[in-house]
Symmetry: C2
C-alpha cells in the first residue's frame, strides 16, 4: 500500500510543478506536523463541520483555489465545484439529505512538494464512498486543494461478490428445483415479453457491455441490444489491421481483468472474442441482431416506448430508463461532395473500410489525418497500394511507446502494477485530477515527449505534415476529452508519411470525378478508392435519429468540457457534457468512451440507475444547462 502512494507521489511530482506555480507563496509553508497528523486534523474538522451542518465552516477548509469533484456521492451527479464558494453551494444543497460521516483515512498519507495526499472512505445516508484528497498549507492552515468523493455501493444493495458471492446451489432437497440453465432460459424467454427491462441499453460495444455487467450484478432488470449478429462485432467488423491503441492495463473491463498473458495492444478480433465471452460469463441479457427503430418517452407513464427489430421481427419494449451506449464512434460523418455519384471506384467511411486486401496496386486516397486515416494508410501501403493522405487540418501525433511511458506509465503499466497501483486506484487517481487544471498537468508531459522524439517531429515537418500539440500544448488526452478527435497515436504509419511512402496532400476536398479526388486548390488525385476517415458526430445525433430532433436539442451537445477550444465551445462545464449523468431529458442517459471510461464511469451510471430502481431518492445537484444543440 505504501508503494502505491509512492507511485502516486511520483506521478504528482512530475505533474505538479506547473500547478503549484499558480498558488500564492503562502500556500507552501514549512511543515511542522506529519502527513498523517495533518490529514487527520483536516478530516476531524471537516467531519465536525458536516455533522454540525455548518456549511461555511466546512467550505473554509478548502483552499482559495480548490476543486471538489463529486461522483454521485453528494450530488447524484458528476460534478466539480470550485473554491470555498462552490463547496458551500454544493454542501448547502446536499449536506442535510446526504448526512455524510465516518470519514476514515485508509492508508498512510504521503507528502511531496508540500502536498499531502490521503485515501479515505466515508459513508452517506444511503451508501458508502471512497475518495482522495490533496491537502496544502494556506495561511498556516491545512486546506483541501483537490477533493474527490465517489460512491461505490448502496447500503442494503451491496454486490454479491467475494464474501457475498452466490452459493450457486441451494443445499438440501426440494421438489421441483430448477437448475441454473433452466433459470437462465426462463429469464431469456420472459424478458421483453412477460417482463420488461427497467433499463434498456442501446449499443452492445464495450460501453454497453460494461454497464450491462454492472446492472446485472446490482440486480437491475436490464437488456442490452445491438444491431450486430454477435457481441464483439463492433470491433470484428472494422479494418483488419486494427489493434487497440490503448494498452492492456488501461482496458480492463469491470469484474474480470484480462489475464496477464494478454497482449499490450489487443488485436481487434481478440478483443472482440473477449467481449463475446464476457457477455456470456457475466450473464448479461443481450439481444444481438436487434436495431432500435424509434423511441419516445411518456412523462405521465414514466416510461419509454421503444420499437425494435429483433432478427427482422418487430418488438416493442417499455423500459423505464434508456441508455444510449451507441458510442463516440458510432455515427459516421460522411461529407457530401459533388461527384460522389459519378465516382467509379470504391468509396466508404473509415468505419466501413474492409481492409487493404482488395487494393494492392490500386490508387487509394484517404481523406483525413487522424487515427483511422493513419491506420488505413499504413495497412494499404503494407499491401502495396499507392496511397495518398489528404490532410485537411493539423493533427497531433505522439509515438505509442512514448505515450505509454510518459503519459500512462505511472498509472497503467506493468510498472504501476508492480508498485501496487491497482486498476481501481489508477482510475480514482485519474478521476481526482480536476478537468479545470488537467491541461496544466498534461503540458509538461507533452513537453517531455516533444523532446524525446525531436527527430521524429523534424522528419514530419520536413515532409510538410501539419502538426500541432493542441491549442494550449496539452496534447492528446485533452484533445480526446475536449473533442474526441484531432490526433494519432503513432504505431508506425507516421514514418510512412514522413518518408514520403504515403503521399501527402493538403486542403479541403472540392469534388470527385469519375476517377479522381479534386481538392479546392485544383489538385487532382487519381483514385480507385476513396476512404472518408472523417470522424463521427456528436452522440446526441443518435438521440435525434432514435427519438426526435426535439429531444436531441433539449439534451444538447454530448462530450466535451466547454474548454472554448476547437470543436469544444464554451462556457466551461467542469465535466464531460451529458456523459454518465442525468440529462435535461428525464430517463435518458449517455454512456461511452474508451475502455477505461467504460469501465470506470459505468459504475456511477449503474449506481444512479440502481438507486432509481430501488426507489432511493436521487435529487440532482447542478443539472447541466444546455448551450449547444449538437
Amino acid at each position: 500500500m505504501w508503494l502505491s502512494c509512492n507511485t502516486l507521489q511520483r506521478f504528482l511530482t512530475v505533474a505538479l510543478g506547473c500547478v503549484l506555480g499558480h498558488m500564492t507563496d503562502s500556500m507552501i509553508a514549512p511543515i511542522a506536523q506529519s502527513a498523517q497528523q495533518r490529514a487527520e486534523t483536516w478530516f476531524d474538522g471537516f467531519e465536525e463541520a458536516l455533522r454540525a451542518r455548518d456549511v461555511r465552516r466546512a467550505a473554509a477548509l478548502f483552499a482559495a483555489t480548490s476543486y471538489w469533484r463529486d461522483l454521485i456521492a453528494f450530488s447524484w451527479n458528476l460534478t466539480t465545484v470550485e473554491n470555498p464558494d462552490g463547496v458551500a453551494d454544493l454542501l448547502g444543497e446536499t449536506v442535510d439529505r446526504t448526512a455524510p460521516g465516518r470519514f476514515t483515512i485508509t492508508e498512510p498519507p504521503e507528502e511531496a512538494d508540500g502536498v499531502v495526499t490521503a485515501w479515505f472512505h466515508f459513508e452517506t445516508a444511503v451508501g458508502r464512498g471512497k475518495g482522495l484528497v490533496r491537502l496544502v498549507e494556506e495561511g498556516g492552515e491545512t486546506k483541501a486543494w483537490t477533493f474527490l468523493t465517489t460512491l461505490y455501493e448502496l447500503k442494503g444493495h451491496e454486490e454479491p461478490r467475494g464474501w457475498m458471492r452466490p452459493k450457486g446451489v441451494t443445499h438440501g432437497a426440494f421438489k421441483d428445483r430448477t437448475t441454473w440453465r433452466e433459470q437462465r432460459r426462463q429469464e431469456d424467454e420472459s424478458l421483453g415479453s412477460t417482463t420488461q427491462p427497467y433499463v434498456l441499453v442501446v449499443g452492445g460495444g464495450q460501453g454497453g457491455i460494461a454497464l450491462g455487467a454492472r446492472l446485472r450484478q446490482l440486480g437491475v432488470p436490464s437488456l442490452v441490444v445491438d444491431k450486430h449478429p454477435r457481441p464483439g462485432d463492433q470491433w470484428r467488423n472494422r479494418y483488419k489491421s486494427l489493434c487497440l491503441h490503448d494498452p492492456v492495463w488501461y482496458d480492463h473491463l469491470p469484474y474480470m481483468p484480462f489475464p496477464d498473458n494478454w497482449p499490450v495492444f489487443s488485436p481487434k478480433d481478440k478483443i472482440a472474442d473477449w467481449l463475446e465471452s464476457y457477455v456470456n460469463v457475466m450473464e448479461i441479457p443481450y439481444w444481438s441482431g436487434t436495431e432500435v427503430t424509434s423511441a419516445s418517452y411518456s412523462a405521465e407513464a414514466g416510461e419509454w416506448t421503444v420499437q425494435l427489430e429483433r432478427d427482422g421481427r418487430p418488438v416493442t419494449l417499455r423500459p423505464t430508463q434508456l441508455v444510449l451506449a451507441t458510442g463516440m464512434s458510432g455515427k459516421p460523418n460522411v461529407p457530401e461532395l459533388p461527384g460522389q455519384d459519378v465516382f467509379r471506384g470504391d468509396q466508404h467511411h473509415s468505419s466501413a473500410h474492409p481492409g487493404p486486401d482488395a487494393y494492392a496496386g490500386k490508387r487509394c486516397v484517404v481523406i483525413g489525418s487522424n487515427n483511422s486515416a493513419f491506420d488505413i494508410c499504413g495497412a494499404l501501403w503494407e499491401h502495396d497500394a499507392d496511397v495518398t493522405m489528404v490532410q485537411r487540418s493539423s493533427t497531433h501525433i505522439v509515438k505509442s511507446d512514448t505515450l505509454m511511458d510518459i503519459g500512462l506509465g505511472d498509472l497503467y503499466s506493468e510498472r504501476a502494477v508492480a508498485a501496487g497501483v491497482t486498476t481501481e486506484k489508477a482510475d480514482l487517481i485519474f478521476a481526482s485530477l480536476p478537468y479545470r487544471i488537467m491541461h496544466e498537468f498534461q503540458i509538461p508531459l507533452y513537453e517531455q515527449m516533444a523532446e524525446r522524439d525531436k527527430d521524429f517531429y523534424e522528419r514530419l515537418a520536413r515532409a510538410g505534415f501539419w502538426h500541432d500539440w493542441g491549442e494550449d500544448g496539452s496534447g492528446l488526452f485533452m484533445k480526446y476529452l475536449r473533442r474526441g478527435s484531432g490526433y494519432y497515436i503513432d504505431v508506425g504509419s507516421a514514418e510512412l508519411v514522413a518518408h514520403g511512402e504515403v503521399k501527402l496532400a493538403h486542403g479541403q476536398v472540392a469534388r470527385l470525378t469519375e476517377d479522381a479526388v479534386v481538392l479546392e486548390d485544383g489538385t487532382e488525385l487519381p483514385a480507385d478508392l476513396v476512404v472518408y476517415a472523417t470522424g463521427y458526430g456528436s452522440m446526441n445525433g443518435w438521440a435525434a435519429d432514435l427519438i426526435s430532433q426535439e429531444v436531441a436539442d433539449k439534451v444538447g451537445k454530448v462530450w466535451g468540457l466547454g474548454s472554448d477550444t476547437t470543436k469544444d465551445p464554451g462556457p466551461w462545464q467542469g465535466e464531460q457534457r451529458n456523459m454518465w449523468k442525468p440529462t435535461q431529458q428525464e430517463a435518458l442517459w449517455f454512456h461511452g468512451g474508451n475502455l477505461h471510461q467504460s469501465r470506470h464511469y459505468s459504475l456511477y451510471l449503474a449506481l444512479q440507475l440502481k438507486a432509481r430502481h430501488a426507489g432511493i431518492p436521487t435529487p440532482v445537484y447542478g443539472l447541466q444547462p444546455v448551450h449547444h444543440t449538437g
Copy 2:
C-alpha cells in the same frame, strides 16, 4: 505476506499435534535463535553442502524422519524420498547435473509448535524453483522435517506474461503483415496437415484444457482433441442438477481465475460455458468432435502414430508425446448382470443419466452409494420419482459446509483469500504435505467433523446406512487420493436417505428381471429405471483401449498411493501412480483429477514436455516400477 504465514501456521497447528507425537522428544527443543536465523543457518549449510557436492553433509541436514518432495526440480519426476538415506540417494544421483543454488528465503519464516516454516526460491542449471521447508530441532541442531522443491520455469523459456507479455502488434510498417486472426487461421489450417503437434492431448475436459493452456503459453506445438461437439460438454452432458462439490477457490484454472462474483459451487452448465470461453481466450488448439481410434508408438522413430476421426473423417497424427487426459471419470464401470437384456425399463451408467425429468412417478433403482448415486437419487426424488438406493459397501459422507470450513477453509476460502493465501500458495502448501503422513494431518480434521455433525451421523445410522470414515479414519481426501471413490460430499441428499424419503437397500445385485432388480439375498426391487452409479475404472483402461493391453500392462495401475487400503494395494509409492510424470511407456503421460489438481499439476507436466521439446536433458530419477496391471 505475514498474514499468509499466519494462516499456514494455523493450518499446521491444527494438523501437527498428532504428527509431532511421532517424533522423539529430543526433536522438540527450546529455541534459542529466531525463526529467521534458524532458517538462514539451515539454508547456508544446505547450499554449501550442495556446492561442495557433499551428499552426506546435505543429507545430514534432514531429520531422522523426514520427507523431501520434489516436483521435477531435481528429479525430473514427481517423487518423495524419506529420511537422510533417501535424501542422499536423490542427491547422489541428481546433484551434479542439477547444480542447485541461490536458495533465497522469500518472506519472514514463522514458527509454531517448534516448527519453523520458510518459503524459498532457488535455481538449478536449467530452471528456477520455489519451495517450502519445515524445520525442527533434533539433537540440538536444526533439521529439515519436510522439504518441498518445485520447478516453475525453465531459463530461457520464461512464459510471456506480465512484463514479458506479447506486444500484440508490431509497430512500424511492413509489407504483407498478417493479422492476429490470419495467423490463428493459418495455424489452424496447418496443424495436423502440414505441421504436427509435438504433444497430443486426448481429452478436453478441465485437465486437457489446463494443460493445453500451459503448453500454449510455453510455445510447445500441441493439440487437444475431444469427442464432444463443444468444449465444456464433458460437464454440460451430465445430469442436470449437477453442481461442483468443490468450492470456487479450489477450482480456478491457470492464468485466468474466476471473477469474484462466481458462485461457490458452480452449476455444471456454468462451468461448461467457462471452459468453452477459456479455450477461446487462451487460444488453445482444440479439435471438438474428434475421437481417437488407435495409437501406437515407434521407439525407433520416436513418435506416435495416432488414428483419429474428426467430424467423422479419418485423420492420422504423428505427435512425439501422447497425454491421456481422458479423466478419472472417463471410463465407466458398468457391471455385467444376468437379465440386463430382458429388463424393459431404462438402464444406464450414471455418466449417461439424462436427469430426472422423464421419471416423475416412476420406480427408480440407483445402484451405488457414492457422489453420483446421491446426486441422482436427490434429483429424482425432487421430481417425484419413487427412489431406492442400493448400497453395496460402506460410504464415507461429510456435509459440504463442514468440509469447506474444517477441511479446506484455511487454504481455499474467502477467509484464506483475505489472509493473503493466493491460489498458488495454497497449492504449494498442500503439495508440501508428504503423502506418507498426510492421513495423520487429516484424521483430526475428520474427528472435528464427526463431532460437529454428530446428530447427522446418528440419523444416518438409524436409517441403516453403512457409513465409514476411511479405514484409518482419515476421511474424504485420502479416499480420493487412494481410490478416487467411496464417498459423498453431502449437499442435501443424505438427509433423504436418513429420513427414508429415498429408500435404502443393501447388498450385491444378483440379476435383473423384466421389471425389477434382484439382490443376492432375494430382495426384489421393482424398477422402471436402473442407474449404475458404479464408478469408473483405472485410467490405464484408456491405454488398453486406445493403444494396447500390452502398453496398459507395461504402465500398470494409474492413481492411488499404494496405501494398502481398499482399492489401493501396496507397496507404498510415495506419489500418485503414473500421474503427471514419466511412465514405463516412453512418451506416454496421464493427466487428470479435480480442478485443483488439473491446475497445479498441469504446470509440472507442461514443463516436463517443454523441456523435452526444447532438447533440455531430463534424466528421470526414481522411475516408478509397476506392481499392478490395472
